[in-house]
Amino acid sequence: MPLTLLPDQDDQMPPEGFIIPHWISPRTEEQRLPQAKLNFEVEDYIGTELLSRERLRFSSETFEISRFGFHSSPRPWLQPQVVAKLDKMRRRTPLTEKEMVSLIDDLAKISVEFYDIEKGKFIAARFDGRIVESANTQIELLLKIQGRDFGVPVFVWEAGSESFLGWRI
């Protein structure tokens, strides 16, 4: 925000013959600036999932730039073979034990790399690779996820461990 000197209520009008430099008078500055507005096309921001109320506004009237926002936190990119297995799960086709183990193994590794989780931390992750909760101990993690509904199954894993601890439907 530009630094400006605000005039007192009594001194709204300058005395005759007194020249106010344009940089200390917001009104003058506003008059000098062009009234052009930057209009965004839908294609410009649709990829970033900007919230409607937080769209970037450039206006000489407000001088306001709102913050960027996302509808949801970013999730890791999943390899095609992982996506294929998830699609199979969505179609309620049973996965073999080997497929399920490799799926959870892949998801756990992708999540830990994406979110940069330290080894030894306990995490609860969704099947789309998003970590919903993390804690230092298993009991602490169970207390955090206890009673919460994530809408999808979550699995519990100790980062760096070769086997996962369990899952919750």
């Binding site: 009991i139 206890q146 009673g147 601890l165």
Partner: protein, 142 residues
């Protein structure tokens, strides 16, 4: 300045050639503050690394307060792997010794149909137990 709680010493005799103690606790739902009270006599099992092992029928009690237990597997003494349900619970009292609210967090393991509860090392870490096999008694220091 907080006052240090007094140490409690409990001496008990073996029953049916095993050590049994009475515990109290709760299964909490931190989201709704609902809880299921637990009170039973447990057999001390130093070979079990969980907190408390209870029959699988407790699963319906946890579900009644909106807690869905996590499915995991456990290895039995004979090497057999079985699926069990686990959730977090609070251990609030061992015999007459009451812990500060909400209690000590422990792992509650639900498996098997046979009645009987076991107290494992995850719960026993909060106290010191001295077993005297020839005299058939044990002492708990909390």
């Amino acid at each position: 300045m907080t006052q240090k709680p007094e140490k409690v010493k409990i001496c008990k005799n073996y029953r049916k050639k095993a050590a049994y103690i009475t515990i109290e606790g709760t299964i909490p739902n931190p989201q709704t503050a609902a809880q299921v009270p637990l009170r039973f006599e447990c057999r001390i099992d130093t070979g079990f690394d969980g907190g408390v092992l209870v029959p699988v029928r407790y699963k319906s009690d946890t579900q009644s307060i909106g807690v869905r237990p996590t499915i995991t597997n456990m290895t039995l003494a004979d090497g057999q792997k079985i699926n069990v349900y686990v959730c977090a619970a609070y251990l609030q009292a061992i015999e007459k010794c009451v812990f500060e609210s909400p209690g000590k967090p422990i792992l509650l393991v639900m498996c098997g149909l046979r009645e009987g509860q076991f107290l494992g090392m995850d719960a026993l870490k909060y106290c010191t137990i001295l077993f005297d096999g020839p005299k058939q008694n044990f002492t708990i220091d909390i």
